[in-house]
């Protein structure tokens, strides 16, 4: 057992008084080293599930464990520390900080560690080289193409040496050839570095990269294999 959610539900209380059941009674166990894809139609609860798995959102009920450690009862500091230590996020829209260069963006998670600036810089440069951006270190997000921005985001997700990368439609904003580059990169991280990947995707093309598939429909898991 590695990352596990048990009987979780999530309700959103809309400000007009209605309650939306985004997830109802979802149980999933994700083993270490897998490439998991989450598919389902729009509004089926994919992002909600992903954020709960990553400690970014609390379920309304149910439990969540990471290596037997309960996260559903953890406080903000503990959850933040969990994200910082174990999780790397890659979002559909690149979620880079506009006033930081590529290198500085990758250094942001490192700033939480007791590492001096030189070490932080070395790590950032190494990671940017890994994702093929050795010649774009000092560029600001707006000076980078969409694909390059997504690579910076992946480099940042890798900065804290995470065991899990959560990706929410990482290729949603990219054209097919760029998309396959990014997916190949994620696959490599999964096979070479043993990083568990959990990826939400709309595209059946992208879903093929996974070896565990979760399908959601109206907040319920309809299929896992």
């Amino acid at each position: 057992m590695y990352l596990q959610v048990k009987n979780i539900t999530k309700q959103y209380h809309h400000h007009n008084g209605t309650v939306i059941n985004a997830l109802s009674d979802v149980s999933v166990t994700i083993e270490k080293g897998r490439f998991v894809t989450i598919t389902g139609s729009s509004g089926s609860g994919k992002s909600t599930l992903l954020f709960i798995l990553g400690g970014l959102l609390r379920p309304s009920s149910g439990s969540i464990f990471f290596n037997e450690q309960p996260l559903h009862s953890a406080g903000d500091n503990a959850l933040s520390a969990f994200r910082q230590k174990h999780i790397g996020y890659v979002m559909q829209s690149f979620s880079l900080i506009p006033y930081l260069t590529a290198e500085e963006n990758v250094m942001v998670p490192l700033s939480l560690l007791q590492k001096d600036k030189k070490t932080q810089m070395e790590i950032a440069r190494e990671l940017l080289t890994t994702v093929g951006l050795s010649d774009r270190m000092q560029h600001y997000p707006k000076e980078l193409s969409a694909g390059q921005q997504q690579r910076v985001a992946i480099a940042r997700a890798l900065a804290n040496n995470p065991s899990v990368i959560l990706a929410d439609e990482p290729t949603g904003n990219l054209d097919p050839s760029l998309a396959s580059e990014i997916l190949t990169l994620l696959k490599e991280l999964n096979t070479k570095n043993g990083i568990t990947i959990i990826m939400v995707t709309h595209s059946p093309e992208a879903a093929k990269y996974g070896n565990v598939k979760i399908h959601l429909k109206d907040g319920c898991v309809t299929k896992t294999n």
Binding site: Q84, I97, N160
Partner: protein
């Protein structure tokens, strides 16, 4: 990279908006610094002027009334002359120009006059303020001594030197007040007999319009001998520094001279104290307004800033920043804002004082160093207080909902 670097980078990125956010606080600090600068130097100017008016503290024997001092009745109480010594040898600062006096009513012919014994060398300089305190804070206090070079450099004239007409007085000489001279019809170089003793009229004093015009002055020790009350005096006139008086000089003197009555030549001093009080009240009112306006405007800027940065804050949260880290980032930012607001406010306020002081109050204003750390501190406090709520708001931003929006 650390929180501080991140905050600086963010500030730099949005620097144009920074100025508008800081405007109110810079302006506020500038107003306070300007008012304080002008007020301090005008207090100083007023104090110097008042001190130039002459004695403002009167030491009388216990039980004597101020009337006794003027009428000098035959049985008016006295006290030992060595009280002067007590003051001189004490560690009191802000006393200057002690002049002991013995006054008695005497008859010359049919008329009655007040004979006043004085010490001609009445410049018994007793530890003036500028000798006992020389550090930064002292510059803010008006010096009692008009001859003080600092005062002169500020354009205050030494008016007291012109008053000092009596500097030597022989045992057989006397000075006769303007009116007394008329009544006695004596002129300079003439002679008068008081209590069977011949005096040379060394000088007829020019008209002053005060009770001194009706008096005859002789050497204190001669008068004491003549009247048979040796080593006794009926009053000590003192020039006390106005600031020293407001800081409790009188009660300190009462401790040294227990069996005396010490009063100020009230109005002069109380006017000065009033002015100081009013200036301080105006500053206080401004301080409160600035606290409110500055705090609110910084808070408003921070609020807008937090809303604009929601997504960015969500990203920080996503990569593992805790709520308290976000909170700290915003407070660090408010400290930096306050710091620069304080510096700019001080500079602008000081310049305003230097430029406007001579035009509005007719005084020369110089930068006051102690206001510098004060400005920075005040500005930081205002900025931090104004930012508390927006910072809290920022720390509560749900990273997840922000991610959803984009």
């Amino acid at each position: 990279m650390n929180l501080f670097n991140l905050v600086l980078l963010e500030l730099w990125h949005r620097k144009s908006r920074l100025i508008s956010g800081l405007m109110a606080i810079i302006f506020g600090i500038a107003v306070i610094v300007g008012i304080r600068s002008v007020a301090t130097f005008s207090e100083k100017a007023v104090a110097v002027k008042l001190d130039n008016l002459g004695a403002n503290i009167l030491v009388l024997p216990q039980g004597a009334s101020t009337d006794d001092y003027y009428t000098a009745d035959i049985d008016a109480p006295t006290f030992p002359e060595n009280y002067v010594e007590r003051i001189v040898t004490s560690d009191l600062s802000g006393v200057d120009n002690l002049s002991p006096k013995l006054s008695r009513r005497v008859k010359i012919g049919e008329e009655s006059f007040v004979l006043t014994g004085i010490l001609p060398a009445n410049e018994i300089t007793a530890k003036p303020l500028w000798q006992t305190s020389g550090l930064m804070g002292a510059e803010l206090k008006a010096s009692c001594a008009p001859s003080n070079t600092a005062n002169q450099s500020l354009g205050y004239k030494d008016e007291r030197l012109q008053r000092k007409t009596i500097d030597s007085l022989a045992a057989v000489d006397c000075y006769v007040g303007f009116i007394a001279a008329k009544k006695l019809s004596v002129v300079e170089g003439g002679k008068i007999s008081i209590e069977n003793k011949e005096f040379n009229v060394a000088k007829v004093l020019p008209e002053t319009g005060t009770i001194d015009d009706g008096r005859i002055f002789a050497h204190l020790h001669t008068v004491q001998k003549l009247l048979g009350i040796e080593n006794q005096i009926s009053a000590i006139e003192i020039m006390g520094c106005c600031n020293a008086i407001s800081e409790g000089l009188l009660s300190k003197m009462r401790n040294i001279l227990p069996d005396t009555r010490i009063t100020t030549i009230g109005q002069i001093v109380s006017t000065q104290l009033e002015t100081n009080k009013m200036m301080n009240q105006i500053s206080l009112i401004f301080l409160i307004i600035i606290l409110l306006v500055g705090g609110i405007s910084i808070g408003n800027y921070m609020w807008a800033n937090v809303n604009e940065r929601k997504k960015e804050i969500g990203i920080y949260r996503m990569v593992g920043f805790s709520q308290s880290k976000i909170y700290s980032m915003l407070l660090i930012k408010s400290v930096i804002l306050g710091f620069f607001g304080g510096i700019l406010g001080y500079i602008i306020g000081t310049f305003a004082g230097i430029i406007l002081g001579p035009q509005l109050a007719g005084i020369i204003v110089q930068p006051i160093a102690v206001l510098f750390p004060f400005s920075i501190l005040l500005s930081i406090i205002i900025s931090v207080i104004g930012s508390l709520i927006p910072a809290y708001q920022a720390s509560r931003i749900e990273p997840y909902s922000i991610m959803q929006e984009s």
